[in-house]
Structure formats: C-alpha cells, structure tokens
Symmetry: C2
Subunit: 413 residues, 2 copies
C-alpha cells in the first residue's frame, strides 16, 4: 500500500462535472488499496476572474487582501471535491492552507513554504478519510492568508508529499506529460518517459510550462519522484526523477524556445571596473530581470555590452539604458524586440563534447544567424531573429534525434 499525493490543475477541476471525474479517479485509486492525499487548484479561469474583480477597484490591490480574495478559488474546489468523494461512499475532509497548516513567510503573492506540520493530515488518513488540500495558499505565523504565486499548487503538492514522506507525487494536468518540444510548432514532438529534475527545471524555465519550477526544485532537494500526467486518460505521463545512467545516454532531451525576449546593445562603453554595475543596477532596481549578458572587448579600452530582457519590459529598460549610456559616455544604444531564444537541454551534454558546435552548425545550415549564445552545464541557448523560431526548433529537434526513437532510449546521434 503506497501513499500518493495527487494534484489536479485548474482545467481538471474546471466545473462540477470534471470534479466528479477527478473524484472517480481518486476513489478508484483508494479502492486499489493506496492512500491518497489530493491537492487542488482553483477552477480554470477563476483566479483571473478574481484578479479582474480586484482590479475593478484598484490596478495594484494591496497584497494581503488580494491573497484573501484569491484563496477563495481553491476553497471552492476542495469543498466541492469532498462532496463528490462523499457521493462515492468515501469520507473526505477539505483542508485550507491555515488548516493543514501550510506555514509560509509573509511575502504575499509569492510566499515560500517554511513548514508543514502533518499531524492533522495524518489523523485524517488514519481515520480512513481522503484529505483534500487547497493548493496555492498558506498561512503566516500571524495567521494571515498567503498565496504562493502562479503555479503554486504544484509546490503545495510536492511539499505535502515530502512532508508526509509519500511514495509519489502525481501532477495531473491537461497535457499528457513533458514533450521533447512544443507539439504546437513541431508535430514530431514526443512525450518523454523519464526526465531528470535538472533537465525539467531547464525545460520549465525555458518555456515548457508543465510544472512550476519551484516544485521541481523542492522535489529535487528531497528526491520526491513526480509523475506528470493527464487527468483525462490513463496513459502514463512523464516521470521526473533523479538523474540516472540511462539519461546520460541521451545527448539532448528537449528543445525549448521563448519569444518573450528583447535584446539591448550598448556600444563603445569605456571598459572600466564598475561599468557593468552602473548599467545593471538601475535595471534590477526597476524589477527587470536580465537573462543573457555578453561583453565584447574592442580595441582602445572600449567594450560592447549586449543583454536580453523580457519583451514586456523592453521600453522601460531602453529608457533606463539610454540615460545610463549618457552618464558613462557610451557611444550608442541599440535595441531589438524581435528576437527569440532557442535552447537544447540534456544531462548527456555533461559527458559528451561537441554538442554546441553541432547546434551552431545545424542553425547555420538552415540559414539562421546566431545573435547571442549562452551555455550552462546541461543547456545551450541561442538568440536568433524571431521569424526563424519554428524553423530552428524543428531543425534542432530532428538533428538531435528527437523525432524518431522512443523517448528515454534514443542515443543522441
């Protein structure tokens, strides 16, 4: 008999009909002998509806009160689910964030989980009930309601699984798992059977929005296996686990892309210590996150500085950079909001050389100019002209053998 934490996302609980289907699934698992703890999101669209309501009053509502408002979304689904379980002859008990309790810091809207005492959940399990935990929400030491930020229910599920020492955390969503790339732009995309936490984090942060990245970090730290799968069928999904030898056989596990990028270049910057800080401090003070940074030294103590920012922050960043460029005596500032970032991810890169040059060569053969490059241990990213995004993704997907062989078994050549 295993203890399983099952998390269902917003599309899986979008209405009472779907909540009943989830209850079928959960109670079926209970009948098979496993203990189940359920974690639920708000109904799809509900969080956005509540935010819109708040913004009818204030564009930037006070964070404490916004959390009180948003927490109602999961409160509705957990109580409805408990009713659906009861209808099927099972006892279920809903737990709000403050009832578990999910103890967090006081950073409203992006709170971090600090501690999850498990006594109440264990009592419910021992009494034969199905605990149904409201995802996304927590409570501060002072008793204020907090929320964990977008996708926070994934983190709730993993954290509850870790706290209870569960055998597995299942994340049910509206896709069948993690794919080698976006099937929307590459029909040859395949579901990945097993993927390491590290790869999953790179995939998630680069745009494959299946699992919230903090939940993967959390699972990695405690070695909690996550099974990402569809709530609409019984197909096995993607198992996110510790890296093992078979994974290293695969050179590239996935190809990701992001169109939410813009590039800014400052040319002929006097190359002195502290110049980078002069440029990037005011940008970070404006809460703009800089992703890639490249510095090219020219002759005569001059340097060019190129970096990327989220496209939504492009105008504001350009304004800041133009001002700073004047102050530090740079020659000019150029910007380009029409770029994309394409990346390949795979733990196999650690033990195989030549992956980067194969990526560059593949792009070149398709006539795609590389504007910027950044590399890490298990990923290589290239910034390219946005119009080549689909072409680049498809070319890389094919070149690294992702089109053909079954996932988890394909050699990288």
């Amino acid at each position: 008999m295993a203890l399983i934490v099952q998390k269902y996302g917003g599309t899986s609980v979008a209405d009472t009909e779907r909540i009943e289907r989830v209850a079928d699934r959960v109670t079926e698992r209970r009948r098979q002998g496993d203990d189940v703890v359920v974690v639920l999101s708000a109904m799809a669209g509900e969080t956005n509806r509540l935010i819109a309501l708040a913004q009818e009053i204030l564009p930037h509502p006070p964070a404490r009160e916004l959390d009180v408002l948003l927490a109602t979304g999961e409160q509705v689904t957990v109580s409805l689910f408990a009713m659906a379980a009861e209808k099927r002859g099972f006892k279920a008990v809903s737990f709000l964030g403050h009832q578990v309790p999910i103890r967090t810091d006081a950073a409203h809207g992006r709170a971090r989980i600090q501690e999850i005492p498990t006594q109440a959940l264990r009592s419910a399990l021992e009494a034969g009930a199905i605990p149904v935990v409201a995802g996304f929400q927590g409570v501060t030491a002072a008793g204020d309601i907090t929320t964990l930020g977008r996708g926070g229910s994934d983190t709730t599920a993993v954290a509850v699984a870790v706290a209870l020492g569960a055998d597995l955390c299942e994340i049910y969503t509206d896709v069948e798992g993690v794919y080698t790339t976006d099937p929307g732009i590459c029909p040859q995309a395949r579901k990945i059977a097993r993927i390491s936490y590290e790869e999953m984090m790179e995939m998630a942060s680069l745009g494959a929005k299946v699992l919230e990245i903090r939940s993967v970090e959390f699972a990695m730290r405690y070695g909690m296996p996550i099974h990402v799968r569809s709530s609409f069928n019984d197909h096995p999904g993607t198992l996110v686990v510790r890296e093992d030898e078979s994974m290293e056989q695969v050179l590239v596990s996935g190809v990701t892309y992001s169109r939410n990028e813009a590039r800014i270049t400052v040319t002929k910057v006097p190359d002195q210590p502290g110049i980078a800080a002069r440029i990037f401090t005011p940008i970070s003070e404006a809460n703009i996150v800089v992703d890639m940074i490249i510095q090219n030294t020219r002759a005569g103590d001059l340097t060019d500085m190129t970096f990327t920012v989220p496209r939504t922050d492009y105008d504001q960043a350009m304004e800041i950079v133009r001002r700073v460029a004047d102050e530090i005596g740079a020659e000019s500032v150029a910007g380009d909001p029409g770029i994309a970032k394409v990346s390949i991810v795979g733990v196999g890169m650690r033990s195989h050389s030549g992956v980067a040059s194969r990526m560059f060569d593949t792009l070149a053969r398709h006539g795609i100019n590389i504007l910027m490059i950044s590399t890490s241990e298990i990923k290589i990213s290239c910034v390219i002209d946005e119009k080549y995004t689909e072409l680049a993704v498809r070319a890389l997907h094919e070149h690294f053998g992702l089109d053909a062989a079954p996932a988890g078994a394909a050699p990288g050549t």
Copy 2:
C-alpha cells in the same frame, strides 16, 4: 468619538461599484471622527450560486464542506472592501471568521456564536485601521469553518458590537427601515422611527424580513441598539431599542401577515392523555414545525384538533396525520392549504385591554371569517382565508391608526 459596527447586506455589496459606494460611506464616517468596524455579507445571489454548485454534486451535501464552500462568499466581499478603503487612503484589514475569531459550536449550517475574543479587532482599531469582518461565518474549537445560517451576518454584526462594547450597531439594507406593514400590499405603510426588541422579534418572525431574529435576541440580551437603515441614501431608518414609555402609548406598532401557512384538522379524536403527543411527535420527527394548535372538546370524550404547518410541508404532514388518525381512531382528517395568518404587534397591548376584540370586530365588519386565533403578550394572530389577506392587513392598519400619524407618536385609537 463613537465606536460603530456597520453591517452591509448582499444587495449593498452586489458588485464592485456598490462596494465602492459602501467604502465611501464608511470612510466618510471615519472622517467624521468615529471608529468603524464593518461586517459584510456575500454579494447578492452568491450564496445561492454556491449552493446550486454543491447541489450539482449532491442534493444534500455534507454540512462541514458546504460551510467551507459558502464561507468564500464573504471572503470575497471583505477583501474587495479592504481594497476599496485603501483606494480612499484608509488602511483596512479583512478578518475571516477564524481570524477574528468568531468562535461557534460545531452545528454546521446553523452554528451559534459562543465567544468573540476582541484582541485582534482592537489591535487593528488601535493601529488606525478599519477592521472588515466576514459575516455569517465562524470557526469551531477544532478549527473547522462554520456558518450561522441565513441572515447570519446580522448576528455577526450584533455579536461583534456587543463584544467590542460598541455604541451602536447599524444594519444597512435595501429597505429604509421597519415598516408598520408590507408597503407592497398597503401603500399607507409607514416607516417606524423606534421599535422595541420584543416587537421587532414578533415582526421579523411573522414575515417582515428586515432583521434576522437571532440578531435581535442577541441585541436585546445585551441592550445593544440597532439602527436599521438603507445603504442607498442618508435617511434615518428604524432604531431597535429597549422598550420605553413612549412605545407603550402606541397600541399597535405593526401589522404582519404570512401566506406560508396550511391548516390541518383532525376531528373526533378520543380525548385521552397522550393523544396530542401521538399526533405531534411524528410530525416533529419529520422536521415539520407546527405553529398554532387549537383543541376543541366535544361531547362524549371526543375532541377536535386543529393546527397549522408551513405550506411547503403540507403534503407530508397530511400523510403523517392520516396514518396517525387511523391508529388513534379519529373520525376524519381535513386540510386547507389556502389560508393566511394576519397579526397585530405592539407592546402597548400589555397595558391596554380590548385590543383583541377590536381586531376581531374590524375583520368581521369587512366580512372576513376568522378560522383560528392565537394570542401572546404583545401580538394577536388570526388565521383567515388566504384571499382576504390584503383586505385584512389594510383594514387593521387603518383601524389601529397606523395610516395617519407619524410612527412613534400615534395613540392607538
């Protein structure tokens, strides 16, 4: 500087636009120097929407989980109100039932308030904030969410006012106060300026649905004055206070009626001890509330038993009574779902005789036959044929001088 508890009902907070108007009103009162604690209901229609959602799953959802679901209604309005106060430059802090805390027993769906510690509310007031309390909800000793039943927000408001030792509890609603009768059927109905708790309870329980009866009981026990008024204008409403001498000058304060009645008669019942229990025990076991009961003794140890039940329970009650009548050897059972109850209410009746006969005489002069009569210290009720309801109400309203003179000053003749 006074401390005022202001409660706003569902129609007063039906959307963000109306919540902003309520915030105008509350912050204006704060500017005048008073301390204000706000108690809010759910948006009009929201509680019914949530119940319908639950009933899509189960016709009789488990009470604990229904309370979790329903409590979201007030959670939405208190957070939105706090945002609206902030927009006006005031600090406001929302309090859910478990945050105040409003401690109740564990009778889900109809919980009773046991205790309201005021430390958290006082801290907020001392910090210059406007506490915004979610009405209708509480929390058990075990930390479960409870609700107080329909109209429970009135009770929350009065209980919070009593706990804080407030100077006044204002109940804002969509009517301007308590009327001498239903203006919908009697255009001469007038707003009552002052009314005693006792009269208010008789008016409320008899059909003038302005204040929840438990809140009036609560206010009476602790002598908390209630001002019932409209949230849509600044007119003074009705003050519900301890009985005073001026009230006794008024013979009849109001005329009420109820069409939700049905009458059942069991004829020629053997008149033995225990017969009444044989009839009424199975009815009460079916959760049917019997209102008026009249017993007429006939010759030969036989008696007739007539009583009223809510019209919605009429069919079920008839079925039960027919079965019992057979068992106890009664001659026959007759029923009439087409009746109404008309009542006059007034503390002045205590010190004035002849009020009942004037009521009977008034009805007789209008050709209205009285089917049943019941009297208490401050009210007289007559059951009549339903078709005479409007006629009876108007005739009594006129006869007892309610049509003409200003409320609170009219002698009863």
